[in-house]
Amino acid sequence: MSTETMPARGFNLSKDDLGADILEIAMGPHHPSTHGVFRMDLKLDGETVVDLKPIFGYLHRNHEKLAEDIPYPGSMPFTDRLDYLCGMTNNWAYALSLEKMLEVEVPERAQYIRIICAELTRLVNHCLLIGFFINDLGALGTPLLYALREREKILDLFETLSGARMMVNYMRFGGVRCDLPDGWLEECKRIVDKFPAFLDEYETLLNENEIVITRSQNVGVLTAEEATNFSITGPMLRASGVNYDLRKVDKYGIYDRFDFKVPLGAHGDCYDRFMIRMLEMRESIKILNQAMKDLPDGDIIGKVPRVFKPAAGTEVYGRIESPKGELGFYLVADGSTNPYRFKVRPPSFINLTALRHMCIGHKVADAVIILGSIDIVLGEVDR
């Protein structure tokens, strides 16, 4: 029933009022499960979604324009606030872009530290995503709190390393800001060694749960073709069965030295997206173990100019596989200390474009979990 046809008060319903009309609902921007200030204008036929209009921009912070007005290093702390759950990978993507522009060599040790940090970030992000996904399914926060419990340990590691838990601002052009403190590696090793036990527990809790399976299988299906056409990246693309992982494709950093595999889904539904992230965490642990074993000594920052002034007209697109997908920074230099153009390719924003396609025909409850399985962070979507 739309607002116009709804009677003002009382039960004086006419036949028209009882006719099956479309119900329009504005889900968000302050709704418990839209993951931030995101709004979905839903049109419902009973409980079935017939149309969906994603509306965002409530968290727009002018990130790109801001970056054009300050020198290159000044944007580094702002990148933490893009996808505020994975500061490390955002830092890395930005650092990588400028390193590409200035052709700066990154020392070995810094590369290893970066990989350790990035993979820890992946654990943090996937942990949290799965927790929130199950929360969207309707569990009363239990899986989420287990995930938060484990995430907290990694955040403590980040705090010891960089001084902050989430807004790390840790990487620098040509390396990282400071070396690992004493005992950090041992602590990290301890946490990483315990992580599989947590994953096992989590899998027992959820993977075979009948309700999780019936709720999430065959919901929000995205075929491989559709996924590529929507230019989806990250775990969501791999859940649809497309083997595309920038860690394997670009081999940025020193990812080619590590032995890990890319899990692929076959159905492209919410359950696959959930499971791919579960499996990716195990692969991340593999990488972490190798990286911590091989971590060499040496410099943590390469030879970089004191002032960053890339030659006018240089353009560069640096991208990495962030936990959410391909995170890219496109920079155009005009010869000054500020970038002429600064463009972010946020993975969650582009993954969000498939939302309408996936939701139509499903129930309201499914729209919520489909949104949850996309893994958006509004800081990154709205920038």
Partner: protein, 267 residues
């Protein structure tokens, strides 16, 4: 689906396990009861910047020279500096106003990284709530000033490194000055004594001003000052990146310094 759902029962076993373990395993009950027990702030935590002063008198011992490098580097532009003047209107190297708007500050530590005088540092104080959200959160110079001892207390490792670096710097500066004086004396043997004195004064002045000015100026004005950075000099050695330097120096001072409370404070 059979009568009894296996997956659900498995899940319930996990939650039951967590329920009971929360009574005897610390790992399963990580909550910290905040006002009574505070979570351990480790010494690397950073929050809002503060200004370090040496000695007892905050104003005299202030390391800050109001060079405004941090003001320029601050991405959200939350630092506001006005240079101090003496009675005659002559500027002195000290801020009259040094404000940090803690509601704007995003704790990025870039000001710390650019500071060539080891003056601005990050505090780990996290209880910053205030009843007045405008003036209360705008921290002025006197509120920001903290002693070097306080710095040692909250960031023992980092403070020690900073102190070592300052000592090393001073020693280096003294050596250079001596060398330069020697040189100047030799060169000025033919010249008058007054010219010699003047040259020495100029050298010291340039040395102090060097990092504060743009590198072009620094290069031309003080080619002999130790802080003068070449355009392509590795960052690790330039004063704008003290963190990198400090990180390099990380292992050694640990071995040298043996303040007894050091190891306890570490964790």
């Amino acid at each position: 689906m059979s009568l009894l759902a296996k997956g659900i029962l498995q899940g319930m076993a996990v939650t039951a396990k967590n329920f009971f373990q929360s009574y005897y395993k610390k790992d399963r009950l990580p909550t910290v009861q905040y006002p009574e027990e505070k979570s351990t702030v480790n010494q690397f935590t950073r929050n809002i910047p503060f200004l370090v002063f040496d000695g007892d008198d905050p104003i005299d011992g202030m390391r800050c020279t109001a060079c405004t490098l941090c003001e320029k580097a601050c991405p959200p532009q939350c630092i506001y500096i006005i240079k101090d003047k003496d009675e005659n209107g002559k500027p002195i190297k000290r801020p009259a106003v040094f404000d940090i708007d803690s509601s704007v500050c995003m704790s990025c530590q870039l000001c710390v990284e650019v500071c060539p005088f080891e003056s601005i540092r990050m505090d780990s104080e996290f209880e910053l709530s205030n009843e007045n959200r405008f003036e209360g959160l705008l921290l002025n110079r006197d509120e920001l000033l903290r002693s070097n001892e306080y710095y040692h207390e909250i960031h023992p490792l980092e403070a020690q490194e900073t102190d070592d670096r300052i000592v090393a710097k001073e020693a280096e500066a003294a050596a250079k000055k001596k060398e330069r004086e020697e040189k100047a004396r030799k060169a000025a043997e033919a010249k008058k004594a007054a010219a010699e004195k003047k040259a020495a004064e100029e050298a010291t002045a340039a040395e102090e001003a060097a990092p504060a000015t743009e590198n072009k100026v620094a290069e031309t004005e003080a080619p002999k000052a130790e802080a003068a950075p070449a355009e392509t000099a590795p960052t690790a050695e330039s004063p704008t990146e003290p963190e990198a330097k400090q990180a390099d120096a990380a292992p050694e001072p640990k071995a040298e310094e043996e303040t007894p409370e050091e190891p306890e404070k570490k964790e």
